[in-house]
Amino acid sequence: MLDYITSYLNSDTTPGSAGNMFWAFVYIILIFLGLSVAVIAMNWLERKILAHMQVRLGPMRVGPHGLLQPIADALKLLIKEDIMPSQADPLVFWVAPLMVVITSFTVFIVVPFGPTHAVTDMNIGVLFMLGVSSLSVLGVVMAGWASNSHYPLMGALRSSAQMVSYEIAMGLAVVSAVLMTSLNKDGTGTLSMIGIVQAQQSQQVWFIFKFFPLGLIAFFIFAVAMVAETNRAPFDLPEAESELTAGFHTEYSGFRWSLFFLAEYSAMIAVSSIAVTLWLGGWMRPFPNALSGETWDLVFSLVPGLTFLFLAAMTFYSTARMPKHPYFKVQTIGLGGFGAVLALIGVALFVPPVRDRIQDIFWFSAKVALSMYMYIWYRGTFPRYRFDQLMKVGWKVLLPLGIGVLVLTAIAGILF
């Protein structure tokens, strides 16, 4: 048994490919935990960042700087009364949030956090991600219909139309990136997520810069479509608060609603990781060409630790600025403790074996985080599109653009 466990550590592949059930299970648990933490962190960060964009403070009461706010919210949602409308369809009402959550978590099976850091490496990885994430629309539609109420129904109608239309543009953008993988020396393309990053590695270019500006346009199409896919501003029509109160989840409350919330954020992370994998070089560190060599490798390998130390320093600075009143004593200690944890993580990340192992994951997460920040930024900046305009953007702008990019990429691939 122990052999079974340790044997994997020497293999140079993902647990799925090695057929090692134990480690696959461990990875699944790790991803699940990591994702939950990421959603919680994202919740806090979104509120804080959005608040600071809007000249207000955001959560400040629960814990220092509102750090415990997401946890308090989660607790509140868990102990809230679970209401099901009496005229609702109980079965469908019950299945819908599960459907959304399961699909948005399943996607992470193939997300490559590093060359070996993925649950498995399917040879249809991209297809799998697109397919499974497209299933989440079923959950949305079911939720809207099962509520047996008009606002959710309209939200469901909107979201199904929206997701189906934007999936096409999204697919075209993805295909053009997949096409680029076939420009290796051996001439075979791949749909595997790890294979796509490795293709970027061997071609020594992130696909966003490949055949400039074709890669950039494809990335742009995907970036727009992914916002629409996840129902976020400015494409948040299915849950447009000022129009449909809360759209498809108007009738949901408590734990079920929190499942939708969880699914929305993990779907955001999922599509962001597709974008990162396909165009932004996945787990590769920035400037692998311009700043190559062992010294630079070393410098970049220190970045994760330094980042955490920087965060720790910011936390300590905030701790020092806390009011000196005894009333804030617990909070000050808590914030200091949080900073200490961050500093500890930062120091741990300098230890060579950890440093090497964690680097890929760090760069991948950093790129995803950047994309998540864009999500928040959009939300703070843009008004909402109207339904017909949304469809116009999807069908009349992104789709032709996507086809054009696809054809041009194919031509460029033959010519160069």
Binding site: M53, L157, R379, Y385, R386
Partner: protein, 386 residues
């Protein structure tokens, strides 16, 4: 008169059956409000939809009805004064100004110059506050959440000035019949000037966020169009009328208070769509700043109250007086029977009359446009329902 304003538009929800194909889906009746994030209070709009397309609307109002006009008949002229603030509570000062001037006219007295200048300053500040609140909520309805906080931040400064002047922030009761009951506080002029310097760049900031924002323009251009003719036929006044191209502002047309002394423009639009109304209101905010800037520099010295009897008994007769409130023409029709209490007070609320145009403006549009149009009409339910 165009077709749209003729009577058929009032045949609520019993709409003509257009030709149906087998692909036509069922019509959807949606009850928007009275509890809805975007109906600005307790407006209830019953929407008849074909998918997303609006086939007809019916407004159900009265949820905030308090019988202000009935109360007026049982209060003396002075006692009724604070009640008018509760109608359009985001522009309470304008309401008070209209009522005080109407009663003054009935009594045949005139407020002193100093009081009139203070009135103009406060009313224009209130117009700014009202427009800021409108901008924030309107943008929020269309999905831009950030301007709301910017406008509230700046509106706060106005409310602080009100608070320092009369102790109240929202329902100010700033004026009395015959003038103002409070002298300006020390540094009033300085603070208002400081506010002007503070807010001018802020209005540029709002415009930067929205005016050329593609999504904003797409969402508002050609949405809820209403022509000048239709506006007049429906009695729509205020920025909505001006955005349709009618250069009409009671401050210029039938000047009251100290407005003849000041130099300002009436901004007008051309298309009468939501975008033009937005532009007109933004311009109006700048014009208000201009008026305040002129007024604050030359507030004359003198008394702030005219000589009025302690017990007010206006002679038998009636008066209609109207002012340009931030939302349109706000009129007071007061009938006096010679006693201390008005025999009848009728308020002509701009929001109430403007709201009537909603149905015509949104027919054939989409659900999202209904929200945009409700926002752009700038209604306050306290005033609609009274």
């Amino acid at each position: 008169m165009t077709d749209r304003t003729t009577i058929d538009r009032t045949s609520h929800l019993e709409l003509e059956h257009h030709e149906k194909t087998f692909l036509d889906s069922n019509e959807l009746i949606i009850n928007m409000g009275p509890q809805h994030p975007a109906t600005h209070g307790v407006l209830r709009v019953i929407l008849k939809l074909d998918g997303e397309k609006v086939l007809g609307t019916e407004c159900v109002i009265g949820y905030l009805h308090r019988g202000v006009e009935k109360i007026a008949e049982h209060r003396t002229y002075t006692m009724f004064n604070p009640y008018v603030d509760r109608m359009d509570y985001v522009a309470a000062v304008s309401n008070g100004l209209g009522y005080c001037e109407a009663v003054e006219k009935l009594l045949n007295v005139e407020a002193p110059r100093r009081a009139q200048y203070i009135r103009v300053v406060l009313t224009e500040l209130n117009r700014l506050a009202s427009h800021m609140l409108w901008l924030g909520t309107h943008a929020l309805d269309i999905g831009a959440i950030t301007p709301l906080f910017y406008t509230f931040r700046d509106r706060e400064e106005i409310l602080k000035i009100f608070e320092k002047y009369c102790g109240a922030r929202l329902t100010t009761h700033a004026f009395r019949i015959g003038g103002c009951s409070y002298e300006t506080y020390d540094g009033f002029e300085r603070e208002v000037k400081k506010f002007l310097d503070f807010v001018t760049p802020k209005i540029d900031e709002y415009e930067e966020l929205l005016t050329t924002n593609r999504i904003w323009v797409e969402r508002t251009k050609d949405v809820g169009k209403i022509s000048a003719k239709e506006c007049i036929a429906l009695g729509v006044t205020g920025p909505v009328l001006r955005a349709s191209g009618v250069k009409w502002d009671l401050r210029k047309a039938q000047p009251y208070a100290a407005y003849p002394d000041f130099d300002f423009e009436i901004p007008v639009g051309q298309n009468g769509d939501t975008y033009d109304r937005y532009i007109v209101r933004m311009q109006e905010m700048r014009q208000s700043l201009r008026i305040i800037d002129q007024a604050i520099g030359k507030i004359p010295d003198g008394p702030i109250m005219a000589k009025i009897p302690k017990v007010m008994k206006p002679p038998v007769g009636e008066i209609y007086h109207s002012i340009e409130a931030p939302k349109g023409e706000l009129g007071y029709f007061i009938v006096s029977d010679g006693s201390t209490q008005p025999y009848r007070v009728r308020v002509r609320p701009p929001s109430f009359v403007n709201l009537q145009a909603l149905d015509m403006m949104v027919r054939g549009a989409l659900v999202a446009d209904v929200i945009a149009v409700i926002g752009t009409l700038d209604i306050v339910l306290g005033e609609v329902d009274r």
